[in-house]
C-alpha cells in the first residue's frame, strides 16, 4: 500500500516501460545516504516511461514514520509500504539499499536487474569517497535501449531487511 493506506494494485500503470524499485529503511544510515542518488536517477530518467518507487519493507517502517522521514529528507519519491514483503520476494532483494529493475512485457513484469545502486560501498566500513561505477544507472539505460542489461559488479551493501514474523 501507499502512504495513505491505499493498496497499490499495479506497479506499472499504462505507458510504463520499466519499473525501478528502491528498497529503503528509514533507520538504515547507508540507505539514507542513497536517497539523493535515487532522486538524481528519478530526475535523470523523467519522461522516459520509467516508474520509480521507493519500497519500505521493514515492519517498523509504518506509514507515519515513513512520512516523517520523507519530510526530513525532502524526499518526493512515490512510496510503497511492502507490508507483506511480497515485493522483497518478487525482486529477490535482501538488504537496504538495494534496487530492482523490471521491464514490462505485455501485462507481465520481467526482472532484468537486482542488486547494488553503485560501488561506493564495497562492504560495511569499506567506502569510496565517491562511486566509480553506477551499476543501477547503467542497467536502466540498457534496459530502455533494449540492450543486454549489465549485472551488478559486486554485492549490495547495507542493512539486512528484517523478516516479518509469520
Amino acid at each position: 500500500m501507499n502512504l495513505n493506506g491505499t493498496p497499490v494494485t499495479t506497479l506499472a500503470p499504462e505507458g510504463t516501460r520499466a519499473v525501478v524499485l528502491f528498497f529503503a529503511a528509514s533507520d538504515c544510515p547507508i540507505s539514507n545516504r542513497y536517497i539523493p542518488e535515487f532522486t538524481r536517477l528519478r530526475q535523470e530518467f523523467a519522461g522516459r516511461g520509467v516508474q520509480f518507487l521507493e519500497v519500505y519493507p521493514n515492519p517498523d517502517d509504518t506509514a507515519a514514520r515513513v512520512q516523517q522521514h520523507a519530510a526530513q529528507f525532502r524526499d518526493e519519491a512515490s512510496v510503497v509500504l511492502d507490508t507483506e514483503q511480497s515485493l522483497v520476494r518478487m525482486a529477490r532483494v535482501t538488504v537496504t539499499p538495494e534496487a530492482a529493475v523490471f521491464l514490462r512485457d505485455e501485462n507481465n513484469l520481467r526482472e532484468v536487474y537486482h542488486g547494488r545502486i553503485d560501488d561506493r560501498y564495497l562492504a560495511v566500513g569499506s567506502e569510496r569517497p565517491h562511486a566509480l561505477h553506477h551499476d543501477l544507472e547503467a542497467a536502466i539505460s540498457s534496459a530502455l535501449e533494449s540492450r543486454p542489461v549489465p549485472q551488478p559488479g559486486g554485492p549490495a551493501v547495507g542493512c539486512a531487511i528484517v523478516t516479518r514474523q509469520p
Binding site: 533507520d27 538504515c28 544510515p29 540507505s31 539514507n32 545516504r33 542513497y34 536517497i35 539523493p36 542518488e37 517498523d60 526530513q72 529528507f73 525532502r74 564495497l122 562492504a123 560495511v124 566500513g125 569499506s126 567506502e127 569510496r128 569517497p129 565517491h130 566509480l132 542493512c159 539486512a160 528484517v162
Partner: protein
C-alpha cells in the same frame, strides 16, 4: 631422586584431572544456558556500543533494548566479525591504551552464537540496568553548566550528499583574563554527521585575520597552520573530540591555557547523511583556578617533503626519526594520514637497542581516526630514537583513493592531498630542579630534525632560535635568526627577535639596529617598537621610549603593555602624574599588568603610601613568582612599612632565582643589618662583592659591617679597597679615619 620424580608425576596427574574437568563442563553449560540477550548480549552492548548507539546519540540507530538488538542483530554480527565496530584501529599488543575499545574474542563469539541461534531474549531479570544517557543527551552539557560557552557564529548547512566535508570554524575567546581549562565539551548540533573534531588554539588569531570575510561561515580544509606568535609556547594538549567521548577532561595538574585575544578553531570532519543538516556547534569550557603544575609538549614526526607518491604506487614508504634529548613519558599518540595511508607504525629504539612499539595501525581508515592515550605513561630515556614509518597505497586497489584514475599525490591540506604525521604528547621527567625548561631541548631536537630535511625551513629556523633563547644560548640564537632573516627576506618578526637576542647577548647597538630595521620593513611591527621602547627605557632614554609606546597606542589604543611602558617612560621624564594615568589605564585593561603594578608601586612609595605599594607588588609577585626584580621591589616596600622579616624572605627568594645578581645580595645584607643578623649581613655583602668587585660603595658598606662586628683590620682593608677604586669616596675616607682614631684610642 626417586621420591622427587614421584612428586613430579603426582603434580602432572593432578593437572590432567583439572583440564579434563574443564573440558567436560562446557557442553553442559551450553545446553543448559543458551546465549540470551538478557544474560550475555545486553552487558556487551551496554559496555561497548550504547555510548554512541542510544536515542539522540552519535550512532545512526539505538541498541538500548532487546527489540533494537534484534532489529540490528545481523548487522552487529557482520560488523563485529570484521572489527569495523566498535571503531578501534590499533593492533593489540602494540601499545597499551586506555579506553581500548577492541571487543574481546569471547564477546565476538557470544554475539555470533546469539545471532545464529535465533537471538533469544532470555529472562529480562538477568539483564543489567541500562546505562542512562538522559533525555536530551547530545543537547545538554554532561558536566553541568560550563564556565564559558562559545558558539559558532553562523549555522552551517551540510549538503545531503557528496564526499566528506572538512571545515574549520573560528570561535574567538571573548574574555579579558587568562583562564586555565580543565575540561571541554562539544555539542556539535548534529552528532550523527560529525566523525571527529580537533580543537586548535590560535594564540594570535592568525587564521581569522587571514580569512576576514568567511571565517564566520567556516573555512574548508583538512588541516591548518596557525601563527604561534613570538613567545615560546608549544602546543601541549590533544584537543581531540569524537562522538563517544563528548567530554574531554585533562589529567590533574595539566589544564590548558586561554589568553585574551586567542581564538579556538574547531576543525570538523563531517559526513553527509542523505538529508541537508544545519549545524551550529557549541563548545563548553570548564575552568580551574590552578595553573598547570606539569608542562607536557606535543612532538611531531613527519617528512612532508618526501611525501610525493607516484600514481599507482602500492607500498610507498615515508619515514622520520628523532632522538630525544631528555627523559620523557609519552602520554598519548595521534597518528594521522589522509586516504592513501595504509600501514602506520610508530616505535622507539631505546639506548639499549630494544625496540618499543608506540602504535601500529595495519589498516588505516581516516574515518575512524583517534587520539590514543596510554594506560600508563611510556617512559623513554634520553637518547631514545623515535621512529615513524608510514606506508601508502596510491593504486586503484585502495578503495579510499580519492583520485580515479590515481594521480601523483603530494603533501597538502585538501582531502585529495596526503599527510603523514605522528604526533606524541610527552612530559619531560627526571629533570634537575634547577635545569632550564626541558621543553627547549625538545624543541631544539625537533627543529634540528626539520632543518636536516629542509635547511631553509624558515619556521624551523625561527623556532630553533627561540629554543636557543630559552636555553640562554644567545650567540647560537643570533646565528639562527640571521639565517632566518636571510631566507625570509628580512622578515620583520625575525628581525625583532634578532634584536632581543642581541640585547640578551649584551649588544645593545646591534639590537637597536635590528629593531629599527624591523620597524622600517613593517611600520605596524608593534613587537619591535615595544622591544625598542623597553630597551630605550633601560638606557634611560625616556623621550625616545615615549615615542615608541605612543606609536603603538596610535595603532592599538587598548594595549595594556604599551600604556604601562608609556607610564615608565613618563616617569623617567619626571612626569609622575601623566605616568600614573597611564599605569591606571593599563590596570583597567589588564589588572595583572606587572609593569603597571610595579610603576604604580614606585609612585605610591614616592608619595608616602608604602602600604599601597605592598598591595600592588604582592599582586604582581603572586602572578609571577619568578620575577626576581619584582620581589626586590616588594622587599623594599616591606622594609618601608617595617616588615623587615618579610623583606628578607623576598630577597632570599630573589637570590635563589638570580644567584648571580650582586644587587640582591647587597640589599639582603642591608635588611639583615636592620634585623641585627650581622654575620649573615657580612656574608651577603661579601657575596655581592664577589660577584661585582668594582663597587666602592659595596666595599665601604662591608667595612662598616665588619667594624661593627669588631673586625677592625678587615674593615680597614675594605675602606682602603673602596678608596683604591674611588679615591674621592668621602664616606670611606671618613670611616677609615674614624677607625684609625678609634684604634689610636685603644
Amino acid at each position: 631422586m626417586k621420591s622427587k620424580r614421584a612428586t613430579f608425576a603426582g603434580v602432572f596427574i593432578a593437572a590432567l584431572v583439572l583440564v579434563t574437568m574443564r573440558v567436560t563442563s562446557k557442553p553442559v553449560r551450553a545446553a543448559d544456558a543458551p546465549v540470551t540477550y538478557a544474560r550475555q548480549i545486553a552487558p556487551i552492548l551496554y559496555k561497548n556500543c550504547t555510548t554512541c548507539h542510544h536515542p539522540g546519540g552519535a550512532g545512526p540507530f539505538s541498541l538500548m533494548t532487546y527489540a533494537d538488538a534484534r532489529r540490528w542483530g545481523q548487522q552487529m554480527l557482520q560488523v563485529t566479525q570484521i572489527r569495523y565496530m566498535p571503531p578501534w584501529l590499533p593492533e593489540p599488543g602494540y601499545g597499551d591504551f586506555a579506553d581500548n575499545r577492541r571487543l574481546l574474542d569471547s564477546d565476538l563469539k557470544l554475539i555470533q552464537l546469539w545471532v545464529t541461534t535465533g537471538m533469544a531474549q532470555g529472562d529480562s531479570a538477568d539483564a543489567p540496568a541500562p546505562p542512562g544517557y538522559g533525555e536530551r543527551w547530545g543537547e545538554t552539557w554532561q558536566l553541568g553548566t560550563p564556565d564559558l560557552v562559545l558558539k559558532v557564529a553562523k549555522p552551517f548547512t551540510l549538503a545531503s550528499s557528496g564526499t566528506d566535508v572538512f571545515r574549520n570554524f573560528v570561535l574567538p575567546y571573548p574574555l579579558k583574563q587568562t583562564h586555565y581549562v580543565r575540561a571541554m565539551e562539544i555539542l556539535p548540533g548534529t552528532p550523527q554527521v560529525v566523525h571527529h573534531a580537533n580543537l586548535l588554539i590560535d594564540r594570535t588569531a592568525s587564521f581569522r585575520r587571514s580569512h576576514p570575510n568567511d571565517w564566520q561561515e567556516g573555512v574548508a580544509g583538512m588541516e591548518l597552520e596557525v601563527d604561534a606568535g613570538p613567545a615560546f609556547d608549544p602546543d601541549s594538549h590533544f584537543l581531540f573530540w569524537k562522538p563517544d567521548t563528548p567530554v574531554l577532561t585533562e589529567s590533574a595538574g595539566m589544564p590548558w591555557r586561554l589568553d585574551p585575544g586567542n581564538d579556538l578553531i574547531l576543525n570538523m570532519h563531517l559526513k553527509p547523511s542523505g538529508k541537508p543538516e544545519s549545524m551550529q556547534a557549541e563548545i563548553g569550557l570548564y575552568f580551574t583556578d590552578k595553573p598547570p603544575e606539569k608542562q607536557p609538549m606535543l612532538l611531531q614526526l613527519e617528512d612532508d617533503e618526501a611525501l610525493d607518491i607516484p600514481a599507482g604506487a602500492h607500498g610507498f614508504v615515508v619515514q622520520d626519526e628523532m632522538k630525544l634529548p631528555v627523559d620523557v613519558e609519552v602520554l598519548a599518540v595521534y597518528p594521522h594520514a589522509h586516504y592513501l595511508g595504509k600501514d602506520l607504525q610508530g616505535y622507539a629504539i631505546l639506548p639499549s637497542g630494544q625496540k618499543k612499539w608506540l602504535i601500529w595501525i595495519r589498516n588505516w581508515d581516516i574515518d575512524r581516526q583517534s587520539v590514543y592515550r596510554y594506560r600508563t605513561p611510556v617512559l623513554l630515556p634520553k637518547g631514545t630514537v623515535l621512529h615513524m614509518r608510514y606506508t601508502y597505497d596510491n593504486s586503484g586497489d585502495n578503495i579510499h583513493n580519492p583520485n580515479e584514475p590515481p594521480i601523483r599525490v603530494k603533501a597538502g591540506n585538501r582531502s585529495v592531498d596526503e599527510m603523514g604525521h605522528l604526533w606524541l604528547q610527552v612530559l619531560p621527567v627526571n629533570q634537575r630542579p634547577d635545569a632550564p625548561d626541558p621543553r627547549y631541548l625538545l624543541e631544539q631536537a625537533w627543529m634540528e630534525n626539520k632543518l636536516r630535511k629542509d635547511p631553509r625551513d624558515s619556521i624551523a629556523l625561527f623556532n630553533l632560535a627561540g629554543a636557543y633563547m630559552g636555553e640562554g644560548e644567545y650567540r647560537q640564537a643570533i646565528a639562527a635568526y640571521q639565517k632566518e632573516v636571510a631566507v625570509d627576506a628580512n622578515d620583520p618578526r625575525a628581525l625583532t627577535a634578532l634584536g632581543v637576542a642581541y640585547e640578551r647577548a649584551g649588544d645593545s647597538q646591534q639590537a637597536v639596529d635590528a629593531y629599527e630595521k624591523a620597524i622600517t620593513n613593517n611600520a605596524e611591527q608593534i613587537d619591535a617598537r615595544f622591544d625598542l621602547g623597553r630597551l630605550e627605557l633601560n638606557q634611560d632614554d625616556g623621550l625616545h621610549a615615549e615615542q615608541q609606546f605612543r606609536a603603538i597606542l596610535a595603532q592599538q589604543p587598548e594595549d595594556a603593555g604599551a600604556h604601562s611602558g608609556l607610564g615608565l617612560a613618563l616617569l623617567k621624564e619626571q612626569h609622575p602624574d601623566a605616568a600614573q594615568t597611564e599605569f591606571q589605564r593599563a590596570l583597567q585593561l589588564n589588572p595583572l599588568d606587572a609593569t603597571a603594578l610595579d610603576g604604580s608601586a614606585q609612585l605610591a612609595i614616592a608619595s608616602g603610601e608604602p602600604a599601597h605599594a605592598v598591595d600592588l607588588l604582592e599582586t604582581a609577585v603572586k602572578q609571577d613568582g619568578k620575577d626576581a626584580e619584582m620581589r626586590e621591589h616588594l622587599a623594599m616596600a616591606y622594609a618601608q612599612v617595617g616588615r623587615v622579616g618579610d623583606a628578607a624572605a623576598q630577597l632570599k627568594a630573589a637570590a635563589t632565582l638570580t644567584p648571580d645578581d650582586p644587587t640582591v645580595h647587597a640589599l639582603l645584607s642591608q635588611v639583615l643589618t636592620t634585623t641585627g643578623q650581622l654575620n649573615d649581613a657580612i656574608l651577603e655583602q661579601q657575596k655581592a662583592l664577589h660577584l661585582d668587585g668594582n663597587d666602592p660603595d659595596g666595599w665601604n658598606n662591608l667595612g662598616v659591617l665588619e667594624a661593627k662586628a669588631g673586625k677592625a683590620s678587615e674593615a680597614r682593608e675594605d675602606f682602603e679597597h673602596a678608596l683604591r677604586l674611588a679615591p674621592d669616596h668621602a664616606q670611606a675616607r671618613a670611616n677609615l679615619a674614624r677607625l684609625q682614631a678609634s684604634a689610636g684610642n685603644h
